[in-house]
């Protein structure tokens, strides 16, 4: 825990409740970050500042081009008809010398700030198109608006990034996963957002990076100014603005008492992990970023249960994540870091909420989570995405045990198709004399309710199931976890979700097909006994949650969890399940010293 120079005024302290989306406690200096304000201040700049402003524009254009390239990679054709053509046009627009010249002219001749000049020039062009009587041509206005937003964002980003220092806590309306990654490079301490839910993409990234993150703290925007000292309590879901010195001491003590997630991850955990009555539980790590591999030294005892390849391949801003050679290298590192128990690597899961890494909220795909995403995209573009990734995985498979996991599966036939393609690629590699493992296990994510309902049929085509409770819950409860108006309804402990988990577990047990849970719920101490009681005996959690889950499993009796599971399945709503689970955990852990304050338990 780091902190800036002390000078707090005590009577100013304010405690604001929110939702902890990533655990941990930090004291830092608030930085108010505005991703893209819709209105433009049209102040003029001083004549001396013209050169700097032109430079800022040039940098922004360059950043926008890089962003566009990254977006192009992450929005495959299948998501938007004609996607390649759209991106190509956007790239041409960004390089339109006539328009850039006009923008520069306004900065030079009228001393207009770059932001205002961009808006003035592009909106004039846009208006011409909006006036057109032809509907096809009017769509060009949308393209120009997208360009304008991209440029404005790039301009603001540059300004924002300059102010972040190593003690900063970013306070923003909303943060995207890429915002967090970028700030993390500048040693950001933590984040607070007014919007967003605890299972958003940003939350996953924050957990992965070990950054405390609070979401749904609407009041923070008015209560906190840049430069204020703040405490982010990701465990208790609280933001303390301008804390009194005694409050700071208090939190500093709590943070010191709590084992730091990274430090306790290095303890040598006993293996096999068993409940008090001897039931063995497998505990694996979820990995989504290259940086997280460092948290896994020594290797996790039970290996990596979920490697998300989308952020992993993108973490260093690599423009072409589907480049096969790069993938082979990355997978080798992962399999090596995973140790003896090996790694489960999920195929690219593009689409859904990770489709817009830069936080655009365009109306073009109103329902991305119900659209082309996951395996649907891969099967639509086998030559570009699926085959290179399968080849790379096969080539890396000699490094150690590897399992392949398919995202967003709906139908049995989809799995069959992937298996056929995998066989073809394996045969080709053999023919070319490239050594690789044969019979790499292939599993399916259980996210789509249809798949959970048909689990028995899937046992014939998959080697294992991995239940992605975040998405499964989203689909079962019809709750968009990124929508802060309904995000609080998103709780995987809903009896309907638990019922589906039980169904999959039973299908697996009938056919000897292993079932594991890799969603956030697996790292939630209140949920762990429920999952064990339902018959799940393999959990895969974010590295910071490993110690807490390890502790709780060792502290509870397996037989007792069966009773808990039976009871909660009788409940009719998530809150009731949570109340029961919390009471159960309190009762069963009262004698042990499992510190619930250090665990990832978003309080809903």
């Amino acid at each position: 825990m780091e902190e800036p120079s002390p000078e707090p005024t005590s009577d100013d302290e304010r405690v604001i409740e929110g939702t902890g989306a990533a655990p941990g406690i930090v004291v830092g200096t608030a930085y108010r970050y505005e991703a893209a304000a819709p209105t433009v201040r049209r102040d003029s700049i001083s004549p001396d500042a013209v050169d700097a402003e032109l430079e800022r524009l040039a940098n922004a254009v360059q950043r926008a081009e890089q962003e566009l390239e990254a977006d192009r990679v992450w929005a495959p054709d299948a998501l938007v008809p004609d996607a390649d053509a759209i991106f190509e046009a956007q790239a041409l627009m960004l390089r339109d010398e006539d328009v850039l010249h006009a923008i520069r002219q306004r900065i030079q001749d009228e001393n207009e700030p770059a932001v205002g000049a961009v808006q003035a020039v592009l909106s004039a062009h846009r208006e011409r198109l909006e006036d057109s009587g032809d509907a096809h041509l009017r769509t060009g206005a949308d393209d120009l608006l997208a360009l304008e937003r991209r440029l404005l964002r790039a301009l603001r980003r540059g300004a924002a990034a300059a102010h972040i220092d190593a003690h900063s806590v970013v306070v923003a309306e909303d943060l995207t996963a890429t915002d967090l990654l970028r700030f993390r490079r500048q040693n950001l301490l933590g984040g607070v957002t007014a919007r967003g839910g605890p299972t958003s993409h940003a939350a996953i990234v924050a957990q992965a990076l070990g950054l405390p993150l609070l979401v749904g703290v609407g009041e923070a925007l008015e209560a906190v100014s840049s430069g204020d000292r703040v405490i982010v309590d990701g465990d208790g879901g609280r933001l303390i603005a301008r804390p009194a010195p005694s409050t700071v001491d208090d939190y500093r003590q709590r943070a010191a008492d709590a084992p730091s997630p990274t430090a306790s991850g290095r303890e040598e955990p006993s293996r096999p992990l068993r409940t008090t009555d001897g039931h063995a539980v497998t505990l694996r790590a979820n990995v989504g970023l290259e940086a997280e591999l460092d948290l896994l030294r020594p290797a996790p005892p039970d290996g990596i249960g979920l490697l998300r390849t989308e952020l992993f391949l993108r973490a260093d801003g690599a423009p072409h994540p589907v480049d096969e050679e790069r993938q082979v290298e990355a997978y080798r590192q992962v399999i090596e870091a995973a140790g003896e128990e090996g790694a489960t690597i999920r195929l690219l899961d593009v689409g859904g909420d990770s489709q817009h890494p830069h936080g655009t909220t365009g109306g073009r795909d109103d329902n991305p989570v119900l659209g082309a995403r996951g395996l649907r995209v891969l099967l639509d573009r086998p030559d570009e995405l699926l085959r290179p990734q399968l080849r790379a995985l096969l080539r890396a498979s000699r490094e150690g045990p590897l399992r392949i996991l398919l995202p967003m599966v709906t139908d049995v036939e989809e799995v069959r198709r992937v298996r056929r393609i995998l066989d073809e690629e394996s045969t080709r590699l053999t023919e070319s004399g490239v050594p690789h493992a044969s019979n790499v296990p292939v599993g399916a994510m259980v996210e789509v309710p249809a798949m959970a309902l048909q689990a028995p049929a899937f046992t014939e085509v998959v080697d294992f199931f991995s239940i992605g409770t975040n998405d499964l819950t989203q689909y079962v409860l019809a709750v968009d976890r990124a929508n802060d108006q309904v995000a609080m309804r998103h709780d995987a402990l809903h009896p309907a979700v638990l019922g589906l988990i039980l169904r999959v577990v039973e299908a697996g047990r009938m056919s000897g097909c292993p079932v594991e849970v890799c969603g956030e719920i697996a790292g939630d101490v209140q949920a762990v006994p429920v999952l064990l009681g339902l018959g799940v005996d393999t959990l895969s959690v974010a590295p910071p949650s490993l110690p807490a889950v390890h502790r709780i499993v060792r502290a509870i009796g397996y037989d007792a969890t069966k009773d808990l599971a039976r009871d909660v399945l009788q409940e009719d709503e998530a809150q009731a399940v949570r109340r029961r689970a919390r009471a159960w955990v309190d009762t069963h852990l009262s004698s042990s010293d499992t510190a619930s304050s250090t665990t990832n338990t978003p309080d809903r």
Partner: protein, 89 residues
Amino acid sequence: MIEREVTIRNRAGLHTRPASMLVKTASQFDADVYLRRDNYEINGKSVIGVMTLAAEQGATLTLVVEGADEAEAADAIEALFEDGFGEEF
């Protein structure tokens, strides 16, 4: 200098995709390329300019090409219009 009349044949008109095709083609040549609709003239190498012609199906534009390789450039660009930019008529 070459001046030719070209007509938009494809149904969707000179929207974003055809505009970028046109600009990509024009940019392959050294010659300057201009398109004129009534009194509004734009640089044929500026995609946003081309888009703002807002040229719908049936619209007629004047193509002006000037430079060493103007003949090849004019032919290549005219061919795009003839072909309706590969889109439906």
